[in-house]
Symmetry: D2
Subunit: 329 residues, 4 copies
């Protein structure tokens, strides 16, 4: 099962970059929640191309059509399905990809898995375009979470190794026909303490499993994360205190989760996004039919940096997992 | 479901630090595999206390008893269950833990989740002791993987922010009543290309979900990981070449997995282990019954650094997930 | 999770009787299978209203639109999504159903589960219309099974307690403003021996779990089924013999499955379908708002007998489960 | 996954008839529930051999040892594991079974699935002995259900086609070296309305999936079941009425569940148990090594009728599934 996640709520993402459409089915949403579709669309526009630095000139209206799951705008307990039509497709750009895998893309591994039957047009099901239905799902979950007092917010904290001047870093990479990656931090506030589970069903396990489903994510960490590995216990441990009759931690190296279970402090996670593998420079690859080396020059439309567009995607996936966790008794 | 992972093979870990025993059931192992239990025990000794720097003086023979799943030493298709008796338990050490949560431990979050009914003796089900049955499961899977030509190997690559002199770093922390964390790198060689799946069922998703089940893991990364976020696409992309009529990548920033699917290059991952939260120094906590601040001094037996003991655990969990992935058609 | 089944292949059905559309996503289909959509539509017409005795006059073209999962007519490994538009909807017929639950329907239990937020129009997500996407999924699976030498065939074996003269039984019930149920038998030939698993993941477990998802199914039995309970062991046991160097059973009381695992003999199952609860006669119900008894007269368009239309649905669900089972290594 | 069931609570059964032991792990039980182990053992004695007519003379103390999951007799949220030692094993009885499959048993299908590596001693993992840990699990769940006001009760309603004189029917079959099957009815009272889900995650789906895991079950039906197929809608529909300000159904042909969701009326199901395949009479089989026909005479210890011993097993499995369903939010 490649394209489904969630325990109490199932999120199943479908579509290929150049199929008739892409979309998502959400099964298990609580009934009785009013969904503001205009706000959903506004959220989705945050990841749409052209709204952030470094994005592809491909134009997609990306208007989701709700097929099921709402009755007069309110969740009715039935699976919520939304479809986004693919309109601006140019299959011709991608013809040679079947034979010559792009370095850093999944072309070669997909070819091995599916024996050449994968949809190679525009990256097929592995395209970054599939993050649009993820954002739809996340926007729905964010609205429900908000009514429960939970807010999720992500930000870019590094691009190309820099912690500021992001536009300049991206512009320079683009000018050189290259690309850059970055780091996104995400915080969720308002979560109750006691959410999650020990061992394999915990908050980190489930968030990490879903976040690695976002294309180009190469690392996920919680709280102090990899930096914690360089600390002493006396530094990394967060002292407890009483504030307004509630237990709080005075610092938050633990990122709001201990032993897989929330503490009530803000949940903090970070994801590492690799640089977009599609670059303007010539690259060395191989021809899978002739089994000879070949040089690859990628045409088509590409992002020099997808990190800004990935920000709402990280928020969306985080929201989906958190709402799923909150559905547990 | 807190204590189970796996898709085609299910691994269910049970036990508390001071219950009658701990153990694991493995459901879905291929039938017909001879398991060398002496080698399993040898593997398990690598994580046992007293065999590595910084470990607790608690003594446990940790001899697994196979209850089911083997017929004359060969897997028979039925669930394999192994139980390890808990023998050296000292419940008295932990009495006040119900009231005063240890900073950095899961005491407080468990208390909130289970309304005080969690087993607080020795960390209960969240104890590091539960990694013993994980090692049993991993040792079984490693033997089966080896016959398929897959080897998994992990190493400590950093302790307390240092990349060498680990024993000294640990000794100094212990001398100061403190603890240190570290980073473990794990490599799997011999995997076929085409293993895994796009989006949410991929190699990274499933490995990360399981690895965050190892106590104290705060981050998981693949290939270049967080470092990739600082690279250009032209640096991070791995060029393809032909070697002995096979497609290979000339470098391995991708860590053997692209788009959730293996490429046939070595799988490379790293996990961040936080410093052991149990330290000798006095710490600020709260009394959950009186809701007053209190100072906590932890007695009992503790590791100054669990990173060396976590090395076989990371190998074990990685092996479990990889064998599970290889069971897919 | 109400609307999903399958282990290696996930089938997620969405839609309500009067939402914009209904459909299905199939995740995990093997790649490289050519799907003949014309034959899919021909299969779906077998369940469409108006093609069998006793069916509703509601007209739906029920033309599935494939949104994703095929590339040039061939499965590409990505989730296959098909949407069927709902065109002939008449919401006005169903207005009072929110207050007055129809006996024998799920109105009251849905009202309790969803606190009144369920979509009551035409039965919502619990409508028999949702069997249309099930038939789409089954038709796809049947084509793939056929290439593997597996054929699935179902038939009506009883209507209203009679084993012949079905049209007359149905016509008489309709004339009296009443409805009748019946029994459908389904056989799958060509299955390899050794498919399935002991205990809870076996052929019967998984088929029964899915078949009870077909509206109006009240019983499922395999082989001699309930009749076996009245037999002696010496009668019910099927003797083995050798035929053409293969092991065969001389009789088939076991219905092709022993201990959850196929024997290579034809798989035989039967399902009991209750009479359609929507009848023309006045019925006693209650008003959930006033909590007073009330008489209910159901208008709208209804089947006097859905058994003939359920035949392809039983084939479809059986095919989905069998293909799922065959995806196991 | 052969040996696991449950959604919110996972039940994993392990062991073979002649392995060191058999047992169960229950993951996901609510914390804070006091379990009376003496009552658990009393429940388990109801299925033990020698307590009912027709049972095998094999003697097993069947005393479960709780390995984990309780702290001072109270569920602590950690997986509850119980092991029952196998003491009275006689492997010699079963030597020729590897070559000559017993008609009506799973010997042949297991042989095909596991390529001969299955544990053939005493039926291995497919033995009726595995219902002992199921009864342990069920007894635990029954105690928790009872505190929630839910009672589960099963009875034999037919043996060998007779609805009374069960002991005589069994005695006669035994005297003739034969065996008989029967039907068990199970009722659960006190369930709230609104439990379950539409389509594939409903009460019937989940109960049937688990009940077919009980050895020898060949059919499962709810409410009027197969008899409903012979009724008119006007007969089968249950009229609603108001009683003590609650909605009730005046009859219960629907067996307490409509559209996968409980109505608050008693849940009613029946299972068909086939006659024990192990009989004293000579039977025709084949030798899988020589591929020649052969006559089989089964020695060892066997039940002439397992139906009475299966009664607590049906209660147990029903209780496990119902408690699992009640854990949903």
């Amino acid at each position: 099962m490649s394209s489904i996640f969630g325990e109490n709520i199932k999120f199943l993402v479908f579509g290929q970059s150049h199929s008739a459409g892409i979309g998502v089915v959400i099964d298990g949403l609580p009934a009785g929640e009013t969904i503001d579709l205009e706000r959903v669309r506004a959220f989705m526009r945050r990841r749409a191309p052209g709204h952030t630095a470094g994005s592809t000139p491909r134009k997609e209206a990306d208007v989701p059509r709700v097929i099921s799951g709402l009755a007069e705008g309110v969740t009715c307990g039935a699976p919520l399905c939304a479809v986004i039509e693919n309109t601006d497709t140019r299959p011709g750009d991608y013809d040679k990809l079947r034979a010559v895998p792009r370095p850093g893309h999944a072309d070669f591994s997909l070819h091995k898995k599916y024996a050449g039957f994968q949809d190679v047009r525009g990256g097929g099901h592995s395209s970054g375009r599939l993050t649009a239905p993820l954002c739809f799902a996340g926007a729905v979950c964010l609205q429900i979470l908000k009514k429960k007092g939970v807010c999720v917010h992500a930000d870019v904290v590094a691009i190309g190794g820099q912690s500021e001047g992001f536009d300049e870093v991206i512009a320079q990479a683009r000018a050189e026909g290259d690309s850059v990656g970055g780091v996104i931090a995400c915080t969720a506030e308002g979560l109750p303490a006691g959410l999650g589970a020990p061992m394999f069903g915990g908050v980190e396990n489930r968030l990490a499993a879903a976040l690695f489903g976002v294309p180009a994510v190469r690392g996920v960490e919680f709280g102090a994360g990899f930096a914690a590995a360089a600390l002493r216990g006396s530094q990394n441990n967060d002292a407890y205190a009483i504030e307004n009759d509630r237990v709080v931690a005075k610092t938050n190296h633990h990122g709001g989760v201990l032993g897989g279970i929330t503490t009530g402090m803000p949940l903090v996670l970070r994801v590492a996004i690799k640089p977009t593998p599609s670059i303007g420079k010539a690259q060395q690859s191989v021809d899978l039919q002739t089994m000879q080396p070949t040089e690859l020059l990628i045409g088509g439309r590409h992002d020099a940096c997808i990190v800004p567009r990935a920000v709402p995607v990280v928020e969306a996936v985080t929201a989906c997992v958190l709402l799923d966790l909150m559905q547990e008794k």
